[in-house]
Subunit: 510 residues, 2 copies
Amino acid sequence: MHYPGSSNPPQYATLRQQLRDIADIEAILAILSWDRTTYMPAGGAVDRGRQSATLQRLLHQKATVPELGELLDSLQDFEASRPYSSIEASTIRIARHDYQRRIAVPSEFTARLTEHQIKTYGDWARAREADDFKIVQPALEKMLDLSLEFSSFFPQAQHPADPAIARADRDTDAQQLRTLFHHLRSQLLPLIDAIRASATPTSDALLCQEFDITVQQDFCRKLIERIGYDFKRGRIDTTIHPFTVGFGTGDVRITNRAFSHDLRESLFSTLHEMGHGLYEQGLDPVLSGTPLAAGASSGMHESQSRLWENIIGRSRAFWECCFPWLQGAFIRQLGKSSVRDFYAAINTVGRTPIRTRADEVTYNLHIIIRFELELAMLEGKLTIADLPEAWNAAYQKDLGITPTSDLDGVLQDVHWYTDRIGGQFQGYALGNLIAAQLYETALRTHPEIPVDLERGRFSTLHQWLQSNIYRHGCKFSTMELLERVTGRSLQVEPFISLLREKYTQLYRLE
Amino acid sequence: MHYPGSSNPPQYATLRQQLRDIADIEAILAILSWDRTTYMPAGGAVDRGRQSATLQRLLHQKATVPELGELLDSLQDFEASRPYSSIEASTIRIARHDYQRRIAVPSEFTARLTEHQIKTYGDWARAREADDFKIVQPALEKMLDLSLEFSSFFPQAQHPADPAIARADRDTDAQQLRTLFHHLRSQLLPLIDAIRASATPTSDALLCQEFDITVQQDFCRKLIERIGYDFKRGRIDTTIHPFTVGFGTGDVRITNRAFSHDLRESLFSTLHEMGHGLYEQGLDPVLSGTPLAAGASSGMHESQSRLWENIIGRSRAFWECCFPWLQGAFIRQLGKSSVRDFYAAINTVGRTPIRTRADEVTYNLHIIIRFELELAMLEGKLTIADLPEAWNAAYQKDLGITPTSDLDGVLQDVHWYTDRIGGQFQGYALGNLIAAQLYETALRTHPEIPVDLERGRFSTLHQWLQSNIYRHGCKFSTMELLERVTGRSLQVEPFISLLREKYTQLYRLE
């Protein structure tokens, strides 16, 4: 069959309508979740849980109905007749991917998993209160069983972690990541050793004075507005755990948090979420109502947040422009300091057992440790009973510290206790690597970016990201997009060389 | 068939499940609407409109599916075997009422109406900007046609306004209300004349000083918390048009607004919405997920807001307790005034063409005027072209004033321009009458209420309303509930005698 460019078959219109309904329901679920986290009174929890579950069930029905599969089958010729990157072919391709992903998992299993997630989350909260992993151990054991059951629905998977990894980062797998992370670790460890051996004194005391929370929040809001976050199509609120959520390109909301005695928290949580927010605000509006209106993957999304948070937000050039503004907000605390002092203070490298407090250099080690523990658990090489010890041993080996309690160890992150084991962490490390590789390419096209940053011209980089990344949504997989934009597969080197250059200068290494 | 008390037929469980889904979707639509009005950025409007419409369509499908009608039919014997006020019989009764109401109106019509409502609202906004009724006249003419078309779906109706009236206030109709309002007007006019003829000087100057908005909002929040509004199951936000919305008894939200130069706005909009909020927070939690978890009618709901706003909120007893607190918040502005001054200031009777600024005495005349104009339009006795003149003539006749422009006249209220013509206003007047009749009965059981109010014991009245009104939800119609609680049908006298007593004393009449 041949379809001339100007006319689409009627089944395609039907598909678009069905996909639009699915996208609308997904957006509504996201609104419910945003509200639950920001403004819902505590008393609303029970009803809200049921309301979300009802809508989730309707979504599942709509998204797994056999007619949708038949519709997608009937559109194979049409898909083949259109260019790979066309909105039509991409819509059908991604819709099929989503459909197959959804029908693979029985809804009976999803219901059981959801119920167990709620229980495990509760046990985790109690375990944290008592600082006693044993309280959540039985629930986590069952969670491991459920995670393996989940894998079993994808019999073609090479590794039990692969189905979970594929959900987050479509075209990667355990084997590839294991190799990549092995290489990354081998590059990081000597750099960390060199920094630790350096005699250059560093201190973050400048950032640990008292800073009025309201002034911090006001500054952060104005800063990201100045960079390019559009408040007519977004807003910022405060939550315990910062996040970004979009309900369409016209309504992309971020949250942050601020600590009165550590200025970093508000600045970098805001820049991080702004990065996610710029991505979602930058999706091509024609993708609206299709499954393409989302970031390419968890890794690609994280690359956008880490790029603004770290590569830009912890750069000298950025603060050459923005530090005087920050001084204006906190004259008493920062009025006598130089950009150089501030730049050094935000880039101190320390040893913390806490992932979210880690600096740029050691952060990926926290991820690699978690990733490898996940693989070991799923491979049956590590029992949940032995997990706390294995966690601590890994921290001792890679970071030279042992958490003093499970609170700072195995109970630290919520991920395993609220979702599944597998595929939870690789996106963070991928994000760091992708960000560096993209930035290297952006600099090749626009070597003026650092000078532009110093002058407050944030749009050079923002527009490059807009044209090369944001607008495509998830039309391309992470690796496809990376190849298209940088001409290369995923590399460790751009990240390592960025770090080397920066920290050699900061710590006067070699 | 006989169903022993302890076991319900399986169809009843199926019905409950279907009704729970319907209630959940209705709650989600309300959450979307709350968010749209409070925190949604402007850029979200288009997507949000589509998302809500999608969910509305799903709701309509679920709520009008023929299987639901068959299920209700199959439960007739079971319903008859249970007491009228049992949750089972009431659930089936109200579900049938809702089902029949919904299937009566073709969804094709609803779609056309919704589209025209959006257009008319836009034209109304432009007409207001230009202060020119002619801009919205054609749209309003079509709205009248659509309102008549709506009536035509209910061929058994005695009057074309009856179907719309029945939606808001289940067991009233145009004929009954016309008689009631005729009597009400005849009682009000002499009272208003007497007040106008009074030589007692009155002034609201005390309330028109400058009052810090933040302090007002803080005071209002604490005041309603002290009265009994539960912030663990609610919240208050600021919007242009205050409203109340519940998503279950655990999450009932109100909004208010404050003016810096008129203290009344925040105080009375908050007490008004608190009245609605206490009603929704007080629904029996076992009604959750059934169609009974709502107020009995628009009139009954309004009675609860007007009771707290006016009967309590403009009473001397209430402010004997609360005025010192208000003085504490505004020592400079109120520190030299007495409760007596304040009580007089909040009860000044004036002549305003604006319904929402009207005092307790004249308020109902604003409603009666609108109600009678609605009837005349639907009866074909008044054309839209003649509406502005008819509006002004009615104001001149009843209130002795002619609005100086359509902005203060026919363009004043949004109702006709955003919903339909018919059934829009009677609930406000019914609310005032019902509130007085309920309060009279409450006083008979608890003559100590005024003294309790003076001492800050708000719970006597609150608990009486809880046991007699709130908990029943919409199990009973307004008139059924009124009969049950007060032993009488709806009367004008309790309202009139409350006003007479209060204003005779305030204005030293007779």
